[in-house]
Subunit: 210 residues, 2 copies
């Protein structure tokens, strides 16, 4: 029997290095797939449909919403962004763990639809480093910093909804840590219901035979 | 700030190899301590007080019960067996992860007193192997097998109370797996409340400064 994949949601403060971690994770180990978002914004030079995003029309996106084809979606700057359900479900059935980068509101929506999703929150290595990454090196406008801080505060309020905190102190160490946490999650009883049921039935059979 | 240890409860079917796993875990990695039970039964030849058990009188044991000095206790064959709380708490404060082998009823009592305890359930590598271990090689009496099966059935009913299933297919692999699961458990938000609070306070300070 093939093991079903786990949907892994990665969130974290701005500048925590989520994107780099996820790319490295997928490069280092075989069993991961990155979820590709769907958007109505136009592709930028160098972007390929199905790699950075699935690029679709507004009509197609709204059709997807109506047919419940998205795990979650939101609008930014007049464009839709969402996570196509079919792609994720196919990868999970194929036994691949699917990695999805998303902010906290989206993460909670995902958890609602996929209760067995694993939620990881990426932290910078120290409070000092968090400050440096949020505030930059004096090159950011006050407005940008204020927006980042306000978003970080909202995110920090939701940390308890996550399964694990991952400290991004060193890329390879952190990627290895993410890998062991995700592989460990395959060992929960909730993700091994069929195996547990087999054990129970077998014990019943044995007891009958006695 | 020193990291507090995790209380790890190990249960599993008879013959799953729990004892060997735990000894190997403690031998292989530095940060573990085995919890030593307290009993009123007499020491057997070769047993040392404080190693196999803390050997005490019936009066002393009942005094421990009265002063709530035991995490859990039970009676078998007219003797008390229990887990002294002080020893476990000292090891946890010293930052050591404490490993405690105990059956399911005791495990639930431990979880009740230490909600952040991590519960591991050790499985034999296959259903066939489970059968072999429970039924032996034809050298066991029917009564012994029936008792084992009945106990295994009761244990199987409680598997969902555990955090993780560990498959004992190969000693070193399984010990490494237990180690990564326990170390991973140090990354949950619930076990990092102080760190999260520091992050939140720091974000508040930064927002004030803007």
């Amino acid at each position: 029997m093939k093991r079903k994949g786990i949907l892994v949601v990665v969130s974290g403060f701005s500048g925590a290095g989520k994107g780099t971690l996820m790319k490295q994770l997928v490069r280092t180990y075989d069993q991961y797939a990155l979820s590709v978002s769907m958007t109505t914004r136009a592709p930028r030079p160098g972007e390929t449909d199905g790699r950075e995003y699935f690029f679709v029309s507004r009509d197609d996106f709204e059709e997807k919403i109506r047919e419940h084809g998205l795990i979650e979606y939101a609008q930014y700057c007049g464009n839709y962004y969402g996570t196509p359900k079919a792609y994720v479900e196919k990868q999970l059935l194929d036994g691949r763990d699917v990695i999805l980068e998303i902010e906290i509101q989206g993460a909670l929506k995902v958890k609602n639809q996929f209760p067995s999703a694993l939620l990881l929150f990426v932290m910078p290595p120290s409070i000092k480093e968090l400050q440096r990454r949020l505030c930059g090196r004096g090159t950011e406008t006050e407005e940008v910093i204020r927006a980042r801080l306000s978003r970080a505060q909202a995110e920090a309020e939701g940390i308890e909804a996550y399964d694990y905190l991952v400290i991004n102190d060193h890329l390879d160490t952190c990627v290895a840590q993410m890998h062991t946490l995700i592989q460990g999650a395959h060992c929960t009883p909730g993700r091994n219901g069929v195996f547990i049921e087999q054990i129970r039935n077998q014990l019943k059979e044995l007891a009958k035979g006695e």
